[in-house]
Symmetry: C3
Subunit: 160 residues, 3 copies
């Protein structure tokens, strides 16, 4: 509940460009964050205590980590503006639709494109790319470039 | 205009967790709302006087009911976070692009997934599911599970 | 930095229906804007000094002009609610992922649908339409109607 207010007033705020304060508060509420994080405005994090981030990551404007379950982000990862990491799901085979959450893992060097969505339970392996606006429901291979809804592998990434 | 200010300052606010107040205000501005509504933060409702909601529904964080026309939601419906119900359209065959709005109906037990969009004029029949990030432009069959842009039926839902 | 604060507090604000003030401020920060612009709430513009807009355009609620590079919008263009013009990109062939931005051009009479995204470097030719939630990565032909992710041409627009 305290996190709720701190988040609404300071961390998620659109007027606050001071990343140091945000990172301090996220850590105070249990997030494990490495060095060199860039965290832009209106980043939305549901549960800092379920969040791990490596070194030199980027959280773009208005991206949304909706972590009802654990989210583990490696190093050198870019989550672009408007992207969503979605851990919450419902079991639609039961009439009351109980929660059926699942964690997300994003390995080193991956890039989650603007306005895209990573669904519950997905692992994004090293250096994979999810293109703009794509929706990924299954694991992404290392170095794979994925596009569409549902996202499919369209190319392999080559890093020179 | 009064609704405009009340909406901006209280109902849509990111800092207000008190659902009772929001529901009270929506009803005061003409919405018909049944029992047990869960309404999360930053839900955006254009015109409460064009909104009907049954019992035990869920409006997820930052979902957007852009109702320039009527939106009728049944009971036990879940509108997940970031989803949009879009009633406004333009007639693009005319150079001035006049409005060509149309109502949306969502029947009992349906689930509109996170970040998805329901287009003007669509009826979502009982227990149908629109998956994450999908865009539906035509009516959805009862118990149908739809995915993609435009969304197509990929499976039938079985409730045990 | 001044733009940053003015933008957060006044131009992008959810409570401010006074379009005249927004347009005045955008022009003061370098935007070239024609006559008759309608600019709804929570429109997000990164760099007004990189923005040109013709006459009689419409910027819908919560649309997002993320212009790290130039964005040139013609006359009689409608950018619908929630749409994004995305000019920022990264060169993913290099491990450090340097910026690789590119401008966007939207010609007269085009309509960018709700929740859709126009990717860096795209030119949208006259009267083309990008449908709801679609993601366009390549140039759009004049009068073409495009849908999907990636968007493909599905029809030709006929204006009576």
């Amino acid at each position: 509940m305290l996190w709720y207010m701190v988040n609404a007033l300071i961390v998620r705020a659109s007027w606050n460009p001071m990343m140091g304060i945000k990172i301090f508060l996220l850590r105070a509420f249990g997030a494990k964050i490495g060095k060199g994080l860039i965290i832009k405005n209106e980043v939305r994090i549901k549960s800092p205590w379920f969040l791990t981030i490596g070194d030199n990551c980027w959280l773009g404007e208005r991206c949304w980590i909706d972590n009802l379950d654990r989210v583990a982000i490696g190093s050198n990862v870019c989550i672009s503006q408007g992207a969503m990491l979605l851990t919450g799901n419902h079991d639609y085979k039961v009439a009351t639709m109980p929660y059926r959450n699942a964690p997300i893992v994003i390995e080193d060097g991956a890039w989650i494109g603007a306005n895209s969505t990573v669904c519950p339970g997905v692992t994004v392996y090293r250096n994979a790319i999810l293109t703009v606006g794509s929706i990924v429901t299954k694991d992404m291979d290392a170095n794979g470039i994925y596009q569409g809804n549902p996202a499919v592998k369209i190319r392999t990434r080559k890093i020179e």
